[in-house]
Amino acid sequence: MIEALPIFLDALSFVLILVLVASGLVIVFGMMGIINLAHGELFLLGAYTVVVAQGLGAPFWLAAALAPLVVGLAGLAIELLLVRFVVHRPLDTILATWGLSIAIKQIVVLAFGPGSHSVAVPIDGAISVGGFTYPAYRIVLMVVATAVIAGAGYVLVRTRMGLLARAVIARPDTSANLGINTGRVTQVSFAVGAGLAGLAGALVAPLISVDPQMGLGFLVPAFLAILVGGAGSMTGLVAGGSLVGGLDSLLGGWVSPVLAQITVFVLAILVIRLRPGGLFPGRGRRP
């Protein structure tokens, strides 16, 4: 039983990262009803921020703290310069953000080359529990990710800012009539969502190969997680992330990663089709 623990922990760390990435997406989808296909590239930019920082000799944790700020600003720029012009045309937003994702990927290729970079793991060594060892960095990553997700949830549910954000998600017109500057709220939310994705990218950078194509691998599972879990609630997000991420990771270890991905995607599509609001619909968007 204890031998299964590393597999379980791997799955848990993937789930947490997926939830971090997906939380940015769900804010945008829930609030504006649009799909941002460049979100994977925001994740990518977070990872490359760490690469740049490493090149400049900065310590990892400084870079990881900077990444959400840098990517958050990028998110703000994207909202101001692109998204707000297409926001009332949801299908065109998908395309425009897809074009943006191509552009960002190419900029990264031009700046860093098409190959992969590696980021040094900031915390060496492993923690021994019982009869086995597990990499210390992964444990720290999980703790940080959990703390950030919990923090975001707290802000959403217990602060006035979170209340305003939830109001705009639920009923944007009524919120505007209550004097809430819905445009500003969506801009800030977009930037925060971007920042979360950037942080996820930074945290994951030491564990996987950082290359220009890494965005898509997290984007599609993140979307499926949201659609499966339900775009209207925090519970839905965590549930969807756990199911999609957990299943993908566990099956990937057991069978092959390819078969795992195929199985998870097929199951996700079935769930989305049969329960359009997701498993925990809340009062959010419906197809």
Binding site: L163, L164, R166, A167, A170, R171, D173, T174, S175, A176, N177, L178, G179, I180, N181, T182, G183, G282, R283
Partner: protein
């Protein structure tokens, strides 16, 4: 306090309001009546900024708010109680009320029935209770003008009557200016000082409420001419 000057608005190619002019004096209640599809809700949306007008101007308390985004008009003192209440179902009553700003205690004086329900999810309340939340939420903003879009819709007669009583109290206490879009004649009679009829995209007629009551069953009276086929 609230002035419309030749407002024109519509949806896409379809014009609905073809030049609406209306003035509501401070501290009075004007009821807007008209058949379905005549543009009452369109006027509400043009008023609170959810719909862009194609021509004409609008003033709140003397200030020109034409073309302003909805949240700015709200901040200039116009509060809306939308059709169908539109409460935030997943928020508590308290959270609903304080969305516009800090909640004055007076709200719970006007709506004593809400006090024990403060921490209940608004989605679990009855239609009448939700209506109180919607009105209270609008009043919590201490507005200069209150816009009510068919507040009686979907409510049973006793609840409508209670709502009329509360609104009467608020009007008397605070001297609020109200634009009341309504189909329900008794509520109009209870609250309004004058009644305007919207037909074919313009204000066809405006009469004091006494005239409305006196000619209620007259075939030549405004009610029959504008509201019956």
């Amino acid at each position: 306090m609230l002035e419309f000057n030749d407002i024109q608005a519509g949806y896409g190619q379809m014009p609905v309001l073809r030049g609406v002019s209306l003035t509501i004096e401070k501290g009075t209640v004007l009821a807007l009546m008209g058949r379905n599809g005549m543009g009452k809700t369109t006027l509400c949306k043009a008023c609170n900024g959810l719909l862009e007008t194609t021509a004409g101007s609008m003033r709140v308390d003397g200030e020109d708010v034409t073309g302003m985004p909805a949240f700015k008009i709200a901040r200039r003192g116009l509060a809306t109680v939308p059709q169908g209440r539109d409460v935030f179902e997943d928020f508590t009553v308290d959270e609903n009320l304080c969305l516009g700003g800090p909640v004055p205690g007076a709200i719970y004086d006007w709506f004593p029935a809400l006090a024990p329900l403060r921490h209940r999810m608004a989605g679990t309340l009855s239609g009448g209770e939700q209506q109180m939340v919607a009105i209270g939420r609008a009043l919590a903003r201490k507005p200069k003008v209150l816009l009510l879009d068919e507040p009686s819709e979907g409510l049973q007669p006793s609840v409508i009557h209670e709502m009329g009583v509360v609104l009467r109290r608020v009007v008397d206490d605070v001297g609020l200016t109200i634009l009341l879009v309504e189909q329900h004649i008794e509520l109009v009679q209870a609250l309004a000082g004058s009644v305007a009829f919207l037909a074919n995209g313009v204000i066809a007629e405006q009469v004091p409420v006494a005239v409305l009551s006196d000619t209620l069953n007259d075939a030549e009276g405004p009610v029959h001419r504008h509201l019956c086929i």
